[in-house]
Amino acid sequence: MNGTGVNGAGMNGAGRLPAPAGRLIDRNRTVQFNFEGRSYEGFAGDTIASALAANDVWLLSRSFKYRRPRGVLTMAGQDANTLVQIGPEPNVLADRRSIGNGISVLGQNYDGSLENDRGRWVESFGRFMPVGFYYKAFYKPKSAWKFWERVIRNKAGLGKVDVDAHHGYFDKQYLFADVAVIGGGPAGLSAALQAAEAGAEVILVDDTPELGGSLNYARFDGSGEMARTVGGELRAAVALTPNIRVLSAATCTGWFSDNWLPVIAGDRLYKMRAKAVVMATGSIEQPMVFRNNDLPGVMLGSAAQRLISFYGVKPGRRAVVATANADGYGVALDLIEAGVAVQAVVDLRPSVAPSPLAKAIFNRGIRVVTGHTIAEAMPSAARDRVAGVLVAEITGEGTFAQAAETIECDLVCMSVGYTPAGQLLHHAGTKFFYDRASHMFQPGVVPAHVFPAGSVNGTYNLDTVIAEGRHAGWAAAKDAGLAAGAEPAMSGEKGAAGQTHPWPIFPHPKGKDFVDFDEDLQVKDLINGLADGYDNIELLKRYSTVGMGPSQGRHSAVAAVRITAKETGRDIAGMSVTTQRPPYMPEKFGHLAGRVFEPERHTAMHHRHIEAGAKMMVAGLWYRPAFYGPSENREQAIREEVLSVRENVGLIDVSTLGGLDIRGADAAEFLNRLYTFAYAKQPVGRSRYVLMTEQAGAIIDDGVACRFHDEHFYVTATTGGVDAVYRQMLFWNAQWRLDVDVANVTAAYAGVNIAGPRSREVLQKLCDDVDLSAEAFPYMGVRTGTVAGVPVRLLRVGFVGELGYEIHIPASQGEVVWDALMAAGQPFSIRPFGVEAQRVLRLEKGHIIVGQDTDGLTHPYEADMAWAISRKKPFFVGGRSIEIQAEKGLTRKLVGFTLDDPQAPVPEECHLVIRGGAIVGRVTSAVRSPSVGKVIGLAYVAPDQAEVGQSFDIRIGGGRMIEARVVPIPFYDPENKRQEM
């Protein structure tokens, strides 16, 4: 490395320029940090790249494919040359990230050390790696790719992840604006001021630490005074305007429908909704293409200006400026003032267009070579920095004379043109068209509520930029509904002509003339890709990967279009750049994830379950007790909970069950149409089973409908199904326009089921306004009353097959009633039971669980639920489909089964039923029943093996076949006496 180590560490400040250079650094605060294991000092406000440059360190990273040394290109966070690693954070933009005390920074993509990369041999094999080389080889024999893919994977990639890292703190905040202004350059500042004057609440987003944009680093006149004056005035005016909120060092990374704008600043993702947006995003200076144009020390003119102006860093000792516009002369002036020896200004144009900047250079006697180009940059002995350039006469578009002059230099600045930073406009659907006069792409039609201004809109002349910004701010405020006042004048030359050279591309016979730095693509790679037949820009992009790297084509897209147009003989004016997709700048996963909102729903009795030692399980958004007790006692706990219900009394939290109140004169008719059963004649005070099918006849939910009044049903739904059931109800209610109201009251009610032969005795102690006797309140009856002084809905239903009551309680009182029942049940040794025990209990009774014993296509006949279909009513959703399928004949049927072999293991859910080597069905539920004393289950079998007494084969784990026998259901208490006690 040239000079590093000699004047490196400890020399902070020695290479620094005096103020006013270095406007972003605080020379009173030094910051120590490490790069590649060496310690360096910088100033607060420095970026990693600027602090290293101040220490004469220019090699920052290694390139993606050829491992070429790379350094500063833009100093604006626009390129991939400066991606470094900080601890667990990969791909950090070194020219944007501030240094912090003690941070450890590493280069990326090397083996060994950054300076002596053992992987550099790759480049010498470059000629064996033509465009798309991986498509062209490695496939014979088949095993070859397995080997080579690993090699390529290890060589590719950039930063490293640390799988043990914890992700840091990130959060989100909403913002609302009448007018959002993206970009704090002269156009954006003017727009913000004008919109604010019109009374708009303005949010101004700028991705640099200090407002001003190009006014802060570029030259607009020979003295540089104009930028300082205009910038100072605009900044001062913004600071004095209370209704402009400024977000500095904040990047708007995308435009989404209806002006929904993500803005990243620090650890925060702002999500901003703006009535109108001014896009003042500026333009991106474009590099030249020549051999070795990627060497450290070769950078954009604006990069050198940023180094000087922002950080007070001298970008080199001896410079060559290659240019094709006035700005290059401004760069040369800045370099001279910074004490850099400008060896020559190489102007690509045949003659120099008159400008105050060019005039100032001539006045200083600097050598200007017109009609010439840089034909090649030459590396230093260590090959990691530019040491000189070959300057040759341009003989035609992209060609140059053999004879060349060598000029020694350690800095090459490129100022040959711009392209609009139109990414956000792209996101908004704006197409860009080539403008022959300026040789630039310009935005076409922009969508409503979006207003471009400044160089993104092809406007370069400073006065016009300010006028256009004013106008855009006015238009945006007006669009946002404010009385914006008189329309500001829009006049003046846009100044786009003469900014951009039409062909700053000089292919070299020996290559290494990079079009895309991210992907190490040379001119010939694109030409060869076109020759391979990928002859439009989108195909070429995919084939060559041009523009697919971290900088997303910011510096390569236009050159790629130029080359494509030329090689295919097409008119560039008819072409467009490839679509730019969000985000504009990479967004951290952490920013997008934020603090991660994962909602949890807890029932009213949640804490009681935790206190009782329940093992909780996920049920949609809810948590439910699976069983009570430690995990290692799972089987025993479930068994005891089952037996306690069968023999005594148990209590389960059923709050997660869906609850829907259906009210209105047509309530019964509504249910008649939605569910398979009949509800018109259902007496008040009774409940009926409900089974819902979709239009193709498949079962989608079940529950019970309780009639509390002629015009009021309370319908339950499954925990997982209630939201879909509610949607169905709203959908059909809108279609049918019946006289009903539907309310999803799931969260309004907590629920418990007290079940077991002693349940009536327990409940009796707490309920004195409902006659609980079997005669007065029979099975399937429903009542309203009070339990423990709380008004409740009482349902005598029997999912578990014992005497029992579901008690639906206003949610706020759920815990009170739970506690009262537990206390009242204590003398009866009441115990809570969980979902697992309930699954066993219901299976013993042969009740299905929708979604477990049915799948997305199961119709009621297959599930042996013909009994739940009313044939007397004219219509219900799915009815016609069910009948058609029933007539077609079944292809499978759900049956109950047991295993005769007492030693046989319990089949697992979804083990297959096999006959003659074919799949005919599957087990849907199976358990070794504590109550029945053997293995019981439900399974789909072929229809001709579904008769009671027939047997079928189940293939269990390990491929073993076991024989099962069809038995009638319920397995337990077949006459259903216990639930009707």
Binding site: Y135, Y139, H167, R581, F589, G590, A593, E598, A696
Partner: protein
Amino acid sequence: MPLGLLKYGLSSKYPARRHFPPAKDLKRSYDVVIIGGGGHGLAAAYYLARDYGITNVAVLDKGYLAGGNTARNTAIIRSNYLTPEGVRFYEESMRLYRELSEEFSYNILYSVRGHFTLAHTDAAMRTSRWRAEVNKHLGVDSELIYPDDIRKLCPSMNLSDDVRYPILGALYHPPGAIARHDAVAWGYAAGAARRGVEIHQMTEVTGILTENGRVKGVETNRGTIHCNKVLQAVAGSSSLVGKMAGLRLPIRTIPLQACVSVPLKPFLDQIVVSGSLHVYVSQSSRGELVMGGSTDPYALYSTRSTLDFKESLLGHMLELFPFLGEVSVLRQWAGMTDMTPDFSPVMGLTPIENYYIDSGWGTWGFKATPICGRTMADTVATGVAPKLIEPFRLSRFDEFAQVGEKGAASVGH
């Protein structure tokens, strides 16, 4: 250094091999017109030419070659489906995939990675076991595995209980693979073009000509083409193109979004899918994490991107891989997916004579590219759908013979 690259390094002039001929004028008539120049249409053209000698074929695309869903999918290939019909079909597709690079003399970067479908709920565990049992029955390598096994295979995944949706197990499918989606389409295009098939980009079909219930040709933005047979092989616009032919397809078009990270050194070999968390992810050979989530919550003919998609996806990514907080998203995009009611495709004959359809590819079309091409070529050539795709016929919806594959979908819906 593989020998295939020697000629590039040793020849003074780049030995260009034009994969597709330059654009030509449209002819007035062809034997077969294929609407849609994506993977499926190109594969059908390839097999029509290779296996049936039918080369007077035009493949039409309204955009550039394979620029629709072929370019937008996340390139996952697997056969661990739920129904026997699905498993057999996709398994045959994988068999063809493994041969493609050699067949094309063009590396499609077929990379066997192993495929996890994570289960976070009892229901997902049941479905995983169901799929594993059906897969094994049909000779497909799949197994239900538990967190300890997952940890051994993919140590970087967060298998802790201390998350919102702990991982209970996974359906593990070792042959699960990724490939370079573009290369698959280009390989087919090159092979078809070499045999005489014409590929016309920027050629949009604007109408279908029929006479007495039989297809006669298509209208395009470049004029009318007469033909004997038409194969519709578009994605995202299936219902719209079908409508031109007078077909009402049981398809809803819903956007599906995806994104990639910046390139990283390899740390994730497998393909990881979580239906509950709405995440699927693999790391490409370039080092980018290729990620998708669930389909958008509403139907739309648009490929716009949204912010909330990314927020949801990356939130869940960090639950699975918490150490990726500092890694960045580089690019996001969207495709339009043609969803059918049963999550299986619609292939074969239509009520219009000689008008054949390959559609309803929802979120699962890429992996079927070779077998679709092959079976649709067979269908177009013989006028009869082969047995393998017979279950996917359009008429199944009238016959209550759906092929329910929702349980095997990677993408949340």
